[in-house]
Subunit: 393 residues, 2 copies
């Protein structure tokens, strides 16, 4: 099990931002960061923890790769914030930048098994939720409705993450009537058709098929996702370099080899048998968007691929909400910096939420949670309207 | 030249509806048709020509393959309606059904050279119009506007022929704003995107490229035509049988060989050097829709292919109007029955109309024709509105 994880980590090295290419910071910044670190440690000594936390964060903003700051902040999180998981993440980050850092090695050696135990418990908790969901009969009308609603929610959120401005009500209207929503661009409405067709393909064709997931499957998903918007690029690997913020994915020439490697890994029983389905799905999503094989539609295709993997293991598809998009991106960035586990934990949380909601909604007497479900802090009014669409049959 | 045409005719045999498969009519119908023929001939004898024409048509409706009726009606058209071209068409039809019919052979032998001369004169007339158009400088703002208008007219008419209910104003709005027209299905609006992208591809990429037209070119056109509506089938040859009214195109298994044959013919200098560009374009369109290589979008792709061929010979693209669709289909049917020339003449007429309109519109003082141009008898009010869009800049 541990070897398996170690191998996984080795493999991940090809799916990491090249740290050596990061710019070195100036001496001035370095010294200011060191001063901030000293100040933070003094504040800890006098039990001013909240102030200390802010100064630690400030020090890290100035010098994000400073192993001393990473190790000290990690220990602060472990002992004064009782956040073992984040603490271990900082020890890991310190080791990414300075693999021989003795203190970080010692700290990680002690905390890693504890963190693995926490992660494993979370997976067990989710597996039990899944068993609970399976005890609800398929014929339960509330569960059926919840699943149908989730279908539209996936289309809405997956498009909204990419900047589509249609709301849930409009999205559902387009899928159900195939009619145009006035005052909105056709491209946005075609993106709804795209995810609708791709979801049908995943749900009806790919989920129930045995055997490996192939390049052709991925191209077929992408063909549907992007086809209504860009019939020429849909289903075609990109032929040019793309840039995703500050992240530079592999060159177009490297993409086929990366994908080949990725699919060999994904379909290899040996490589993946010790991974929980959520780990496999999350890592697959991460690797896929790292490769960024298409000119556009990588996120949407990656989320469908992740859900395909989850569904083939009996899990319901998960929804990453529009309001979570910055968290989602930051976890993908952390994976780029060498630690994919925060992203796996995020997908585990999304899975837990989906399972809890399905179980909850299958019991019609509890209505409060159902009403609040969509209200994720953003556009409360809009979501209220959207919720009505879901409540009214 | 004559041999060339003969070879062409031989080749066409594979692009003809199999006459032997047509149902034989009952004896009763046959006798009633013969009686009608006799009546028509009696009416001709007493110079009641209009009545005779109607009875001839009635006789042919009863027994469309009766060589006697075809020959007699042909002679009637030749001598009493002075319509040499249609007369020769009826002699040809008689020979399709009864190749050894002596009277038909004699009549055709006499009329064919005359008809060929008429056709050739029409091509010369069109070539002269083209020269006249080329004398107008490219910078003429009225000509530029007319060409831009023709772009939207092509999209509008080519979609409308297939049943799209968007009018010209809505079509232009969609292309120019990329916004949705309320109250219309998204599929119809996506068909506008499809033809827009396909036209751009033909106009910007294919027209100026030297060398043969390839299968890949046709797939790329189709990918754009249908991609926004059906990303899965777009750019893919059909895998199932299709039916076009009573016409049954080649089986899906035969399509690749037919296309191969078609492209060899289209790109062969030897096969096509004696054909006028209009003949080549029209026959190519006919053969293409005969093969019907796609599940949908064959007509639109075929019209683009025809225009590509015309443009590569320096002609402007032609527009087949929505109001002409039944005429258009009937000429394609006549080609199925063995005579592609009525369809060629129809495309020649469309080319002549386009050239005349461009020449006319490049001279702003003559406004009457411009105002009436779109009014093709159908939806006069609608066209009036559409015309306004074109008039207002």
């Amino acid at each position: 099990m541990h070897n398996q994880r170690q191998e996984l980590a080795n493999k991940q090295r090809t799916y990491m931002r090249d740290q050596s290419k990061q710019k070195n910071i100036s001496n001035d910044l370095h010294q200011e960061a060191e001063s901030a670190l000293n100040l933070a440690l003094q504040l800890v000594a006098v039990h001013k923890f909240e102030k200390a936390r802010k100064i630690f964060e400030h020090a890290l903003t100035l010098d994000p790769q400073n192993s001393d700051i990473l190790v000290e902040y990690g220990q602060f999180l472990e002992y004064h914030q009782m956040d073992l998981i984040r603490a271990e993440q900082f020890y890991t980050r310190a080791l990414v930048h300075q693999p021989s850092n003795f203190r970080a090695l010692e700290l990680k050696k002690r905390t890693l098994p504890l963190v693995q135990e926490i992660d494993q418990k979370q997976f067990t908790f989710i597996d039990n939720l899944l068993k609970e969901l399976y005890r609800i009969p398929d014929t339960n009308p509330y569960l059926r409705r919840a699943k149908r609603d989730a279908y539209y929610l996936h289309i809405y959120h997956s498009n909204a993450i990419e900047g589509n401005t249609l709301n849930l009500r409009e999205t559902r209207y387009i899928v159900e009537t195939r009619m145009a929503v006035p005052g909105k661009s056709l491209v946005e409405q075609q993106e709804v058709f795209g995810l609708d067709l791709a979801l049908q393909y995943v749900n009806c064709t790919l989920v129930n098929r045995l055997g490996s997931i192939t390049l052709e499957d991925i191209l077929q998903i992408h063909r549907r996702v992007l086809g209504f918007v860009d019939p020429v690029q849909a289903g075609q690997l990109r032929k040019h370099q793309v840039y995703v913020g500050s992240f530079v994915p592999p060159t177009a020439a490297e993409v086929p080899d990366y994908l080949d490697d990725f699919l060999k890994w994904l379909n290899s029983l040996e490589d993946t048998r010790d991974l929980h389905a959520i780990e496999l799905a999350a890592i697959a999503h991460y690797k896929f968007v790292y490769i960024h094989p298409f000119i556009d539609g990588n996120g949407r295709t990656g989320r469908l691929l992740m859900n395909l993997i989850l569904m083939r293991s009996g899990f319901p598809p998960v929804i990453i909400k529009k309001s979570e998009r910055f968290t989602y991106y930051s976890y993908l960035n952390q994976a780029n910096d060498g630690d994919v586990r925060p992203f796996i934990r995020f997908i585990a949380k999304c899975t837990e939420r989906t399972l809890t909601e399905f179980i909850h909604q299958s019991q019609p007497t509890r209505t409060t949670g159902q009403e609040l479900r969509l209200n994720d802090g953003e556009n409360a009014e809009d979501n209220f309207m959207e919720e009505r669409v879901i409540m009214v049959e």
